[in-house]
Amino acid sequence: MLKYIAKRIGLAVVTIWAVATITFFLMNMVPGGPFLSEKAISPQATAALEAKYGLDKPLLQQYFTYLTDALHGDFGDSLKQRGRTVTSIILMKFPVSARVGGVSVLTALLIGIPLGCIAALKRGKFLDSLISVVATCGIAVPGFVICTVLLYFLGVNLKLLPTMGLNSPKHYVMPVMALSFYPTAYIMRLMRSSMLDVLGQDYMRTAKAKGVSGFMSLFKHALRNAVLPVITYVGPMLAYTVTGSFVVEKIFTIPGLGGEFITAISGRDYTLIMGTTIFLATLIVLMNVAVDIVYKIVDPRIQLK
């Protein structure tokens, strides 16, 4: 197991390097630059800025400088948010996104798994149909629509909830609802189909024939097997959710990391693009390793090689 993890982490480093390299050259191929504005700044000022951040050097040299610095833990200064380092931006904003995202994933699991199970057990009944309709809506309706509807009814019309910031638990309600709607729906559907699959298996019939109570067989045998696809989905989903959502953050004025991914690219803030990309890539790779390990715990038959 340890050997396996070591191997996976080795692979992860290669993956992250590849992501970083591709991103670096792709972003430099896109036209535009970080020091542009509607009003042209003087050529001297542009030249001074480029010299200050090393953008006047040949691209390959920039690349190796960046890699060397990054290996030493220095991800550079943001080119747009002058005076802030990329690391400080990520450290400041990630915890905010992670809190909202973490709560959202938890919510999605707590609602999605039970409802998915219920739908499977009540297959064809009214409850199943209801859950399916809700799940379909959850997958089909885009996040920004949900945000706007929530904001309008709960925030503006009924004035039940504050519309911006994250100062109290109340502030979390709408962003969490918006963020967890899609994963909840997705988990419900995953759970329902894999539960149906498991319920039809021979060992379930055997358990029933042997007189295992319905509740026990459900938990001990069915759920454990049925939850595997959900785990596969939750790993990367967690990585994406905790790094924030551009739309949700924008609408609810949450100072999270999600907005930085987008504004970094549209502003050509090269160092911040690299920093956020590497950060997200690392999270996803780690989550995948974690998923494998959880697999092993849930289903000892799985061999990690």
């Binding site: 896109v30 036209p31 535009g32 630059g33 020091f35 504005s37 509607e38 009003k39 042209a40 700044i41 003087s42 001297q44 000022a45 001074a48 010299a51 200050k52 948010q81 002058r82 005076g83 931006i89 400041m92 709560v103 938890l106 919510t107 699991l109 707590l110 798994i113 039970p114 409802l115 706007t148 309008y152 925030g155 503006v156 004035k159 039940l160 909830l161 504050p162 519309t163 911006m164 910031g165 994250l166 109290s168 638990p169 109340k170 979390y172 309600v173 969490v176 609802m177 938990f219 001990k220 759920l223 454990r224 953050e249 609408i251 004025t253 949450i254 100072p255 907005g259 549209s266 715990i297």
Partner: protein, 597 residues
């Protein structure tokens, strides 16, 4: 064992999820926020169970925007834009940051409600007869927000810092380009800059050439004084956290949560602190206009700059919806180097074929005004009058009310130029980024220029690619715009000077350049005015670019805010504002803005 734990965990998961009841949550600490918010979430989803929670939230949401009643402090909560990229005076080049600097810093001079220069940190100032030497006399007892003394040397340091190539201030040339020694200073020899502190209270600036509007520059945020001690200690990062952000204006930044809010508190060390009525201003850094509008509706903020455009038809006419001009023009650049735009007649025909009243009033929902000139309202002539009133002998260059006649003239001009009904014209590409009304205008142009027989393609380009493309001249026609930095007409007329970095149309005309050069060197106000008007005459006659509409700012402002004003540079002045306690009639005296029709 492990299995059992997991099974239990899953069981708990199910029970918890199913129950979904509104448990009481007293958790306010962030580390506990996960659980607390989950129960909250469940409560809100479940219609039946949330009544208790709802009542409590209601109050919380309501009081926030207003004065915080519990502490008795007067805090004004507003939205004037998203998170500023920087609030370092030397580095800022955006209006968002400018609004912050306006409240936290004060320059040598300031601009009052009527756009007149008034004393700021300098109590008096004078200009030598040859116009080359400007002397500023600072007030007694000036202090930084941390209580230390502020002297003329602080201005010397700050202005030299603006020239420092390592700082790379984007506005360096605009504000200090005419100061003697600037050329050497920007290459690193900072002490060459002829800005001298004669004593602690006297600052003497020597210019290369007379600059009649240098007073406006002395009031420009880039030239705010910054404190050397905090910059030496903290480097570029000094302007990123409240603790190290030392300022000298009516307010100081007491908290900055990026992308969330900037909290400013009254600066007790400000020389005019007695005139400041608010204890603080909370600038909510809301990026999304719908989110801003929601916050305004709930009363969380009393002022929003970003009003959703789709709400404008229902809002216009409301007493809290304001439209006020800013100095600037939405115009089209045409590539003067390219066939057929190298022919001024073609440019003129294209210009005349645009129904500006329709574009500004209908397509842009009245948030812009039809542009008959290049230089719109707000630009100040050398004698202090409106530049626009004196242009073209007092008549508009383009009669925007008479579109039919203009169109007929356009067709005639085009025919005379050898393109009857557009025959022989190549198809044109119009490039723009997609924001605001740009796309609507592009679609309109397809139709309007179609009337001339012009085949127009629209190319929507991503913002960061659009700017360099336009600057490099890789386009036929494109959207463009300019908002003035200060009210001297040269600020915008310079755009069409042949070598100007913003001359995107690559317009080049010897007479125009000569007129602009004369305006820079002459000491005679009348002659200067004449030169500037001549430049605009040439610009309009040659159709160096196609002005379409004048910019306005539009915003929502509660009648509780009194004593604030909006400047034609796009800034809002809240420093002398107050919050009325529900008394609507008070606002009439304090607010100066014109209410939209």
């Amino acid at each position: 064992m492990k299995k059992r734990v997991l099974a239990l965990l899953l069981a708990a998961t199910m029970v918890f999820g199913l129950a979904a009841c509104g448990g009481s949550d007293s958790g306010t600490a962030t580390d506990n926020a996960g659980d607390a918010a989950t129960t909250d979430d469940a409560a809100a989803t479940d219609d039946g169970a949330d009544s208790e929670d709802a009542g409590a939230t209601d109050d919380a949401a309501q009081t926030e925007g207003d004065t915080t009643a519990s502490t008795g402090e007067k805090i004004l909560s507003v939205q004037v834009g998203p998170n500023p990229e920087t609030i370092d005076p030397a580095l800022n080049s955006a209006v968002d940051g400018g609004n912050m600097l306006l409240h936290s810093f004060e320059c040598l001079l300031a601009v009052d409600q009527d756009g007149k220069l008034i004393p700021g940190q300098a109590e008096t100032w004078e200009t030598s007869e040859d116009g080359l030497t400007w002397t500023f006399h600072l007030r007694d007892g000036l202090k930084w927000s941390d209580g230390t003394d502020l002297t003329a040397n602080d201005f010397v340091y700050s202005w030299k810092r603006v020239c420092d190539p390592m700082v790379a201030a984007p506005y360096a040339e605009t504000v200090l380009g005419m100061v003697a020694g600037y050329e050497d200073a920007i290459t690193g020899d900072l002490d060459a800059l002829q800005v001298v502190a004669q004593d602690d209270k006297t600052l003497v600036v020597t210019l290369n050439a007379p600059c009649s509007f240098f007073g406006s520059l002395a009031a420009f945020a880039t030239l705010s004084p910054v404190q050397q001690a905090t910059i030496d200690a903290n480097g570029d990062a000094w302007a990123t956290s409240a603790e190290t952000y030392i300022s000298n204006g009516p307010f100081y930044v007491s908290e900055w949560v990026p992308s969330s809010y900037i909290m400013m508190s009254k600066n007790p060390n400000y020389w005019n602190a007695d005139a400041i009525k608010l204890d603080g201003i909370k600038f909510n850094l809301i990026e999304d206009s719908n989110a801003a509008y929601s916050a305004y509706q709930t009363g969380e903020v009393l002022f929003i700059k970003d009003v959703p455009t789709e709400e404008i038809p229902t809002l216009s006419g409301n007493p809290d919806f304001y439209v006020d001009p800013i100095i600037g023009t939405y115009y089209l650049s045409v590539n003067c180097n390219k066939e057929p735009f190298n022919d001024p007649a073609v440019r003129k025909a294209l210009s005349l074929a645009i129904d500006r009243e329709y574009v500004a009033g209908t397509l842009m929902q009245g948030t812009y005004s039809a542009a008959s000139n290049f230089m719109g309202p707000g630009w100040i002539d050398t004698d202090g009058t409106q530049f626009m009133d004196n242009a073209n002998g007092g008549a508009p260059y383009i009669d925007t009310a008479n579109y039919e006649a203009n169109l007929a003239e356009a067709k005639q001009i085009l025919a005379d130029a050898g393109y009857p009904d557009g025959e022989g014209l190549p198809s044109i590409t119009y490039s723009t980024n997609d924001a605001g009304y740009h796309k609507v205008v592009a679609e309109y142009l397809q139709q309007a220029w179609g009337e001339l027989g012009v085949d127009l393609n629209v190319d929507i380009v991503e913002w960061a690619s659009f700017t360099p493309m336009r600057r490099n001249g890789d386009y036929d026609a494109s959207r463009n715009g300019w908002v003035g930095d200060y009210s001297d007409p040269s600020n915008m007329l310079d755009l069409l000077y042949s070598t100007n970095g913003n001359n995107d149309g690559k317009f080049s005309n010897a007479d125009y350049d000569a007129a602009m050069e004369l305006s820079r060197t002459t000491l005679d106000a009348a002659e200067r005015s004449e030169a500037l008007h001549k430049a605009e005459d040439i610009l309009m006659e040659e159709t160096a670019c196609i002005p379409v509409a004048y910019y306005n700012d539009f915003w929502l402002q509660s009648d509780k805010i009194t004593g604030s004003w909006h400047s034609p540079y796009g800034y809002w002045y809240f420093m002398y504002a107050d919050i009325a306690d529900g008394a609507a009639e008070d606002s009439a005296e304090g607010a100066t803005e014109d209410v939209a029709e």
